[in-house]
């Protein structure tokens, strides 16, 4: 049996107001991205992408999104992402931008990257802490959260 090769796009949703991310769900991201692909690449692009296209994971707290599509067509999906200016859910508009962080062949490699990326971010953000108390607070939070909930780390960054 031949395996259909996929590509996973690890994206970060950039929003001005972090809380607005809570309004989004998989469905909203799915339709938003599909609409963007259709605008940028037309019916043909949309048809190509729709083969095995899925939102594999959405973290409404950190804005991390995993998109999956066929390996042969991931560039179509990727090139449409910059044209997204907002997503819509239940009539509410969320202005946002997609920032593609990593493209991987499996969810696993994407996850590894995400951990590395978040650690990097943590190191970058830590010096910005205003006083020792804040710093300790961050450290405590990081130690508190188990490895399972990686996404918490990023939340602490803010």
């Amino acid at each position: 049996m031949v395996r259909f090769k996929s590509r996973y796009l690890l994206c970060e949703l950039c929003v001005s107001d972090q809380s607005s991310l809570q309004l989004l769900d998989d469905r909203a991201v799915f339709t938003g991205v599909r609409g963007a692909v259709c605008r940028a690449h037309g019916d043909y692009g949309a048809a190509l992408c729709s083969v095995s296209f899925a939102v594999k994971y959405l973290n409404a707290d950190t804005g991390v999104v995993f998109l999956r599509c066929r390996k042969s067509h991931y560039r179509i999906l990727w090139s449409a992402l910059p044209f997204i200016t907002h997503l819509e859910n239940r009539g509410q508009k969320v202005p946002c931008a997609f920032n593609c962080l990593y493209v991987g062949g499996t969810i696993r490699t994407c996850q590894k990257f995400l951990i590395r990326y978040n650690i990097q971010q943590l190191h970058r953000m830590l010096p910005h802490c205003h006083n020792e108390a804040e710093r300790l607070e961050v450290r405590r939070a990081v130690l508190n959260c188990s490895l399972k909930s990686l996404e918490k780390e990023e939340e602490e960054d803010e």
Partner: protein, 361 residues
Amino acid sequence: MFTNLEKCPRNLLVCEKSSFLNEKSRHDIHVAKHFFNYKVSILIPECGIIPSFLSSVVNGFSKYYLVRDLPLHKLLEDEFLEKVVKTGSLYALSYKTRIDQDNTFAILPTGQVILSVDKDTYEELGLEGKASQYNHRQPMRYVVTIDMTDKSLAPGGKRYKRVMWALKEKVQLTSDFLLARYSIGGDEEGLLQSCLSQYSCKELRPSVSTQTLRDLLCPSLDPADLRRDARSHDPQQFLEWLGTVTMDMSSNNEATSFVSTYCCPEPQSSMSQALVYTVTGLLLPEDIHSLLKELRRYFDEPRFTSWLSMTVHGFADSPISWGSTEHGFHKGGENFYTFVIFKNQDYWLHMATGANDGCPP
């Protein structure tokens, strides 16, 4: 983005530069080997009416015949072979048959018979041939070449009988044919007609049309510079320009214009008028050769132009292009050549073929 959609069929363009006065010049061979010509168009810059010596050559072009429902074996019977095929050069091409769909037949003046047939016919025919070059997954088309001048195929012989049996008894290959015969004497008026009297036979003459174009831009040509390294336009650009002229398109657009951005290649000069003279029909290489000779004489008198061009289009559905090189039809079936003749008897020759074609000689 869509890489699978960005490929397109290959095409070939062979450009030659030489002089008619060069002893080794092969222009006559190229002309003689392009057997089935459909259209000749001549472009003479700065010329209003066609010189009489040219039109008289064209008027002397051989007649050709359209014969309906002619069985192929008729053309290979001893009598016909002796009388027609072996005494002059016979050109025969099946008419209204498409090389990518139907069985197509051609008889070359060299005495070769070429059958390009589909798989079913090939299997029933039982003649030896080889698979066409342009097959996909499984061969669906075969090319059978029979050389009638071969000694082993002499009428009455075993192999000859087998060929006739295959074409007569096994499968009656019948088609409409375009026939023409070139003979130096020209004494056998109606020889073809008399031989094929039992079939509906229509005599046809090549049709001629003239068109005068006014005020156009034209690229400046330098005979020594085929490749155009020094200048900015190359053979493709010149051929493209020639195309726009023969199809009467505007060639002075702005780079920003919406509809078309085509511009005449630089360096350019303007031309007050030009003559496009076209002949259509089954045109024989011999006739084209004599036309070419006359065109060279055009510069015997002082003229305003330093060059003129002649384009010869081949039949898109002919089974061969040059010599016995296989020809096919993928999307366009193009096979043509263009002579650019200069005042000093230098020439450029551009030969082009499309996707399912062998390379021009």
